[in-house]
């Protein structure tokens, strides 16, 4: 393949998002092939470590999808996911990773169209951002030799 194509891992909850993806399939909607969906029972199973693990193994983005607020099959797992997601965003900032690389979406079982839309949108965004690059700690030549380095921002 000549052009760069981003790789995205999708963490989809069983009851809403994954079912919606099934619906998109049954409805034969066409969307970008860049997302690989991994099914979990609830978006509450989402662990920020999954994101870094995915990045480490070549992902350019991670899409987490669960039920709409108030609709969680397990009452409130999606709120837990949201809290972790917010925390993760701060971490990403600190690491100099673009926030757009990790997306949290609420997709109900009937929203096949939204699966398509979100995946297409995210793929487009990541194509624009290019491959994931953990920003090198900016080091001035004279600073070389200082032990460790460390983050500047």
């Amino acid at each position: 393949m000549s052009a760069y194509e981003p790789k995205i891992v999708g963490i989809f909850c069983n009851w809403c998002a994954y079912t919606a993806a099934d619906l998109a399939g049954i409805s034969r909607m066409k969307y970008a092939p860049n997302v690989r969906i991994v099914r979990v029972m609830c978006s509450g199973r989402f662990d920020p470590q999954m994101v870094f693990w995915a990045f480490k193994h070549g992902a350019d983005g991670v899409l987490i999808a669960g039920c709409h607020p108030g609709d969680c099959h397990y009452q409130e797992g999606n709120y837990k996911a949201l809290r972790r997601f917010k925390l993760l965003q701060k971490l990403l900032d600190q690491l100099g990773i673009e926030r757009e690389r990790v997306r949290l979406e609420w997709i109900s079982a009937s929203e096949g169209e939204k699966v398509k839309q979100v995946i297409d949108e995210m793929t487009e965004t990541l194509r624009r951002l290019g491959p994931l690059r953990i920003q090198e700690t900016p080091q001035a030549p004279e600073a070389v030799g200082t032990a460790g380095g460390g983050h500047h921002g």
Binding site: T19, G25, I26, P33, M41, R45, Y74, S110
Partner: protein
């Protein structure tokens, strides 16, 4: 060495699904690729993996190659995971050692490019192979199922489901929010295509509900809270005060006679306002339960605290009327739930072009149902508001339906009920009837024959969507009439047809509170707002919540025969659960590795089911497997990695993530 410590010997099975998968994914290439993955002993392609020969392949290979892990790449696991678990078990392996991944809904059906689709399928198989190696044998837990059911909604769907369950010996709580059961069907005069009397077939069933020893009928009541899970739901029902004791009222209706309002003056909801009632009323003579209700909005005493209370006097020593009655909350325990909450008809105020609410002679089909009903406000006479019989009547199909501006769906029943109304209107008034339709949809047993019969009876069938109903004449014949403007599309000419009465065949919509009900019972709705079935073909009355079933038009527009069939199907599903007496729960519960647990308590507050407690002696967290529902929230949160969700452990999920990033 992973999972339970053995060296993985994995079999990979990639399904063609006819051409559904093989048409886009180069399956042989995926199989070749799989053969070289770590731990894979055998990989195969087969036309239909879910078929018996397909399953036999797995069973045989388990024996022949000594497989201890299985990967199936085919359709959605929501569809066939259980099939392959069963096959794996029959092959002599623990059923939780199979992992089923989706290369149809997630790949071949949604991507056009063969190259991309094949690459993605390989990645998915790779993920499955890496993760399956970590899977462990599990034993599902069995929980008892209570032999009682809740049926929500007392229309023909709820009545049918309740009777079916009660006949099988299960106890049923039938909850209806109106003062009487019967639903929409009770309003109809005749039913298509046989033209048999709706009351004659419905009222015996209503009475049967009331009299059945296994049915507790709760009218004027609404479900307020639902807790628990399949087999063991706890439900709170709020009984609104009807200010009349149902057990004391004998239905003599003397209180109505005696009410201080000499004349009925409030719109009777049951007749859609075409007749009037008093504050104390019975919706219609055959109401079940056959007791009166007092409407607090209009009753003088309940509103103002001042009234001669002639009704109480008339009731005498029966003492049925009780103005101090308070709302009551009942707590029920049931094993299964059937939702039969029905539909609402489209409000034609939303299509102002048809003049509903502006011209008095424009009616909805439901209003006409009451007019043609012999127990309705006119005793079955089809007359205009001025009491005269109409000479010409126009019935406009698809009002609110098949239109992006309102509801895009076909409401399915309107063509047939419009033909029925055409027949009844003509029969009762002698009027010339025009039906304006877009497409005449009459599939069903005896339906096309009914359509032919109407054509033979001479009803005008004009194919075209009406653009407007107006009272502005352009021709002397049109003076004082309502004029229907339409293109007669069979002829290709625009026509103006003056009529005396217009009937709007309003479509079916989800109940306005369907969204609240859906949340209450933790099920899903389609985009349109209909309750979502588990699978459109193979699980049409199940929902995504085990033990909760749907019946009738709350799932989508349906006519009476279909509704009854579905109600019986829902009852059969519920019965299967209850008769078995127990249900196996997916063993995806969380477990604590006591060695790793630091006793930090984080997981305890996170669990919405209170399934995790702290063992003070060992100073570690403990999971009560009976309470755990398997969401995995605790596993994600545990800082020391002590908690692990079966089937979704860190090893399993992280391996899969790594694998799919091929």
């Amino acid at each position: 060495m992973k999972g339970n410590g053995e060296v993985p010997r994995i079999g990979v099975y990639v399904c063609d699904c006819g051409t559904n998968i093989a048409g886009k994914v180069r399956v042989p290439e995926v199989v070749e690729y799989a053969k070289n993955l770590p731990g894979v002993v055998v990989a195969r392609e087969y036309k239909y993996m879910c078929s018996d020969p397909g399953q036999d392949l797995i069973k045989r290979d388990i024996q022949e190659y000594g497989l201890n892990r299985i990967v199936v790449a085919s359709c959605s696991p929501l569809l066939h995971e259980h099939t392959f678990r069963k096959a794996t078990a029959e092959g002599g392996l623990n059923p939780y050692l199979v992992h089923h991944v989706n290369i149809r809904e997630d790949v071949s059906w949604v991507h056009d490019d063969e190259e991309e689709a094949t690459r993605k399928a390989k990645a998915i198989v790779h993920g499955a192979v890496l993760r399956v190696a970590w899977q462990k044998p599990l034993e599902p837990q069995s929980v008892p199922v209570r032999e009682s059911a809740l049926v929500v909604g007392g229309g023909i769907a709820g009545i049918t489901a309740a009777l079916t369950l009660a006949e099988a010996g299960k106890h049923v709580y039938l909850v209806e929010r109106e003062p009487t059961i019967g639903g929409h069907m009770a309003k109809f005069d005749k039913t298509f295509p046989t033209l048999d009397c709706a009351a004659c077939i419905l009222t015996p069933k209503m009475t049967a509900v009331k009299d059945h020893p296994n049915i507790t009928l709760l009218t004027y009541s609404e479900v307020e809270e639902v807790d628990g899970y399949v087999g063991n739901f706890k439900v709170k029902v709020r009984k609104k005060p009807r200010y009349v004791h149902e057990d004391r009222c004998v239905g003599c209706l003397e209180c109505i006679e005696a009410c201080v309002f000499k004349e009925p003056r409030f719109p009777n909801e049951f007749d859609l306002g075409l007749s009037k009632r008093k504050p104390v009323y019975i919706p219609f003579p055959q109401a079940v339960p056959p007791v009166v209700t007092i409407d607090p909005e209009t009753c003088l005493y309940l509103r103002l605290g001042k009234c001669k209370k002639t009704c109480v006097e008339a009731c005498g020593d029966r003492n049925a009327i009780d103005f101090d009655m308070q709302p009551e909350t009942l707590e029920l325990e049931v094993g299964t739930i059937i939702l039969a909450t029905g539909f609402k008809t489209f409000d034609p105020h939303r299509t102002p072009k048809y003049g509903y609410g502006k011209y008095p002679e424009v009616y909805t089909s439901l209003e006409i149902e009451r007019l043609v009903n012999s127990s309705g406000p006119t005793g079955g006479e089809v007359v205009m508001r001025n009491g005269q019989k109409p000479k010409r009547v126009g019935i406009i199909h698809c009002v609110g339906s098949r239109d992006k501006n309102t509801n895009p769906w076909c409401s399915k029943v309107c063509c047939m009920y419009s033909l029925k109304l055409a027949h009844l209107i003509h029969e009762r008034s002698g009027a010339e009837v025009y039906n304006f339709y877009i497409d005449m949809r009459t599939p069903g047993k005896g339906y096309e024959e009914f359509y032919n019969r109407l054509a033979k009876e001479g009803v005008h069938l004009i194919r075209g969507r009406v653009a407007e109903v107006t009272d502005a004449p352009l021709h002397p014949e049109e003076e004082g009439k309502l004029i229907i403007r339409v293109e007669d599309t069979n002829i290709g000419v625009v026509r103006r047809i003056p009529v005396d009465m217009v009937v709007l065949a309003v479509g079916l919509e989800p109940q306005p509170d369907a969204e609240d009900v859906r949340r209450l019972f933790n099920i899903s709705c389609s985009n349109e707002g209909w309750f979502l079935e588990r699978h459109p073909k193979l699980a049409p009355v199940e929902t995504f919540t085990d033990g909760v079933f749907v019946a009738g038009a709350c799932q989508g527009p349906k006519d009476i025969p279909e509704t009854v069939a579905q109600a019986q199907a829902a009852a059969a599903n519920a019965l299967a659960l209850m008769d078995k007496g127990s249900v196996l729960i997916e063993p995806n519960v969380a477990q604590v590795d006591e060695e790793l647990c630091s006793g930090c308590h984080i997981c305890i507050g996170l669990c919405p089911y209170g399934a995790i407690s702290f063992n003070e002696e060992k100073k570690v967290a403990e999971v009560n497997e009976a309470l755990c529902k398997g969401c995995g929230t605790c596993t994600a949160a545990c800082p020391s990695g002590a908690l692990s969700q079966n089937l979704f452990s860190d090893h399993e999920v992280f391996s899969e993530i790594m694998g799919v990033l091929l």
